[in-house]
């Protein structure tokens, strides 16, 4: 466990070092890092491990303005559904080579008290969208206790972009189903 955590922190450090410039106070930022890099394969494993819980996944990024606008609703939902067997997870699709963006992402999560699991998709971003079968973010995916994807809420159709109410409704439906 400790070894895995160290490896993750090391990876965060490598990502920061791999950016165009190292942010001031970068070392200190590592101590409070709240974004855990994860590969697509690792994410698949993680999802499989969630079986038994209803899971709400929010795909977001700091470059995505509507993602930032919608994210507080995710935190509010997390608070509302605490203790009801719902797991909340965020996955950032920020540019892993942009140290400034990663710093902004961590600050954002901290400011919004996003104390659930927060991952950073550690893949080429163009590949990540294809592998995740996502056209756009924000996207909220809700999985049932059996691990099946029950709802995929996106902005892919201009005439049916999802709302916060859609997320609430989808989550309640999933809880009733399982």
């Amino acid at each position: 466990m400790g070894g895995k955590l160290s490896a993750r922190l090391l990876l965060v450090g490598m990502l920061l070092a791999g950016g165009c410039s190292r942010p001031p106070g970068g070392e200190r930022a590592l101590e409070t890092a709240s974004l855990v890099p994860i590969s697509f394969a690792g994410w698949q494993e993680k999802l499989a491990g969630y079986r038994g819980s209803v899971v709400v996944v929010d795909f977001w990024a700091t470059w995505c303005a509507p993602c930032l606008e919608r994210f507080p609703h995710m935190v509010a939902l997390y608070e509302r559904y605490k203790g009801r067997g719902v797991r909340f997870v965020s996955v950032s699709l920020d540019d892993t080579g942009d140290a400034g963006a990663l710093e902004r992402a961590r600050e954002f999560l901290k400011r919004h008290k996003a104390t659930f699991e927060n991952y950073l998709m550690d893949e080429n971003i163009t590949d990540a969208f294809a592998k995740l079968d996502l056209l756009s973010i924000p996207a909220v995916l809700i999985y049932g206790r059996d691990g099946r994807l029950r709802h995929k809420l996106t902005g892919d159709d201009p005439n049916r972009q999802f709302t916060s109410e859609d997320v609430d409704r989808a989550l309640e439906e999933t809880l009733k189903l399982d």
Binding site: G19, C20, S21, W63, C64, A65, P66, D95, G97, D98, A99, G100, A101, R104, N124, I125, T126, F129, A130, L135, S136, I137, P138, G155, D156, D157, P158, N159, R160, Q161, T163
Partner: protein, 216 residues
């Protein structure tokens, strides 16, 4: 009594007509339109140069509509490539029109004027507050391209090229797949000018999400 050949031809024509007329006839990635769709008409959209633009004003053989958003790092990352594209087809029978539809202040007309000047936009850049053009074309990304031939039928939709680029927080441009090697829009324009089919006709657009008003 129709002959078998005539019957088949009639059926094909009917299917073609129904296919064009039906809303929700989606592409591989686009949820609203498919290739062959007619270019939606639009009227009197305000442009950054103080003029207005209507679809009836477009006389060129090929029309490219590209959805943009000033605030978007993916737009900023590929602005240079878009300007190069417009320069490449300058003086040819091609019209490139940038369209902004977001309602946020930094994507509206006044901000568009500032952004167009800064980015060196060398094409018409219009604002569609109604968002109708974006809705009708199923545009959800910025930048997202739609290429229409002389008959104003959609011959290509999607990304500019095969290496989407974004502007990082330090102002540098990051090409996600290295130097672009496949130039989908340019190839589609060349093909349309030559009366041929685009070699690649639909790709996955990558960029920021267009935010549509929820009232509809």
């Amino acid at each position: 009594m129709l002959s078998r050949g005539t019957g088949i031809r009639t059926a094909v024509l009917l299917l073609f007509a129904v296919g064009i007329a039906l809303p929700g006839h989606a592409g591989k990635f686009n949820k609203v339109v498919d290739l062959g769709a007619a270019m939606p008409e639009f009227a009197d959209l305000p442009a950054v140069d103080g003029k207005t633009l209507s679809s009836r004003d477009l006389k060129e053989s090929v029309v490219v509509l590209v959805f943009l958003a000033n605030h978007c790092p993916w737009v900023k990352g590929m602005d240079g490539d878009l300007v190069k594209l417009a320069a490449r087809f300058k003086g040819k029978d091609v019209r490139i029109v940038g369209v902004s539809v977001n309602h946020r202040e930094d994507d509206r007309l006044e901000a568009m004027k500032v952004h167009a000047a800064k980015a060196g936009y060398n094409f018409t850049y219009v604002y569609d507050e109604s968002q109708e053009l974006g809705r009708k074309l199923g545009a959800t990304r910025t930048p997202e391209y739609f290429v229409f031939d002389k008959a104003r039928r959609l011959v290509y939709m999607g990304a500019l090229h095969n290496s989407p680029a974004s502007m990082r927080t330090d102002g540098t441009i990051n090409y996600t797949k290295g130097e672009p090697t496949e130039f989908y829009v340019a190839d589609a324009i060349e093909a349309a000018l030559a009366g041929k089919a685009a070699p690649v006709d639909e790709t996955r657009p990558q960029g920021c999400t267009i935010e549509y008003a929820q009232s509809k």
